[in-house]
Symmetry: C2
Subunit: 203 residues, 2 copies
DNA sequence: GTCTATAACCTGATAGAC
DNA sequence: GTCTATCAGGTTATAGAC
């Protein structure tokens, strides 16, 4: 059997639409996406989109739930591992999360952009409580009761995520190409734990 | 004379429209903004918007240029002050920039969201060269020739900016209210220089 | 300069044939 | 299940009266 050009050729129609919706929503955001774009990207007719998913809104919510689970789901388990030391948690996090984001570079900015554009939609729907009250937070409080633990959580997260958030800016500026960006992110896997452990000692 | 309810009542029509455009574009982004929203927010008629600014696109570009200048313009002068030490640059940056962002909390995510949604529009239009080739970068290279200077630039920027990027998420989660956020950001002004100077010593 | 009215087009969604 | 055709409503932009 000849190799197919598009990898989704053999998928069900429903999956073809979801696949296309992931690509188009991620690239342009909810507001700028037209259902016709998704239909075209899926290689199907516009009517089929509504046949399977009822509306643009419902389809978007489906995709968004997936993306939220991917973005937040990877954090809580690591930070709540009660057998891991602070150092181990930070290492595990930066390694795993940078891998996740390298495979899904537009994930953070997609979520952040949509939350900003439509905060009401996300009220009480963001699974961050497990992170904000994690075992990691407790360890931080023990280690440095003089500094609010949120600072260190923000830093671990930010040092890993922020480069991906800035990526479109660097790319549009022509400052940092794809290969160089990947190299820097690979270096950060080992650097971030050192930096954060240093912060925890800084008086 | 009685005090006016809205501060822009006495402005020229052109300024009223620009003021409204700033608010609406910043809140909803380009794609989700309707010119009718802007006209209504400005208290004028829809036709006047086109009379003064020709099109939604032109009006947006005007506002975006302002915002880009604000966001990037504050960085380069500090990082290119050839009389300042590394430590002084970092302190000046985190203090000034956190003040700027506290006064304009939606600024970073507005720009990042729009660049992501429409990268072509911004190619060669982002004034970041003066930052990427700054005196600060030279100092970093001298101090730590073993680590790519972009890491430290990214960290100084990220530690200041990332909390504002995450703000909508924290807010929608109910984790962090306005007052607590402001308190943390005030603390970070002094913390960030310590953290970064620590990083520069970490082997 | 400012308004109302409307043109010209676009978008999400559905009806109905196959 | 899948398509074509089309509806209903919304959106940008302009014409023309005042």
């Amino acid at each position: 059997m000849a190799k197919k050009k598009l990898e989704e050729v053999d998928l069900s129609t429903e999956e073809k639409i979801k696949d296309a919706a992931r690509r188009v929503f991620m690239k342009k955001g909810y507001a700028a996406t037209r259902t016709r774009d998704i239909a075209e990207a899926a290689g199907i007719n516009l009517a089929l989109l509504n046949y399977y998913f009822r509306s643009k809104e419902k389809l978007f919510e489906l995709i968004m739930l997936e993306k939220l689970a991917k973005f937040f789901g990877a954090i809580a388990p690591i930070l709540n591992d009660t057998n891991a030391t602070l150092d181990q948690k930070i290492s595990a996090f930066s390694n795993n999360y940078i891998d996740l984001l390298t495979a899904n570079p537009e994930l953070p900015l997609f979520i952040l952009s949509e939350v900003r554009a439509n905060p009401e939609r996300f009220v009480n729907k963001l699974p961050v409580a497990k992170v904000a009250e994690s075992h990691f937070i407790q360890q931080l409080q023990e280690k440095r009761p003089d500094v609010h633990p949120l600072h260190f959580l923000m830093n671990v997260l930010g040092l890993s995520v922020f480069p991906f958030v800035m990526k479109p800016v660097f790319h549009a500026s022509g400052i940092l190409n794809e290969r160089a960006f990947a190299a820097r992110m690979e270096e950060r896997k080992a650097l971030i734990p050192k930096w954060i452990m240093g912060m925890l000692k800084t008086k």
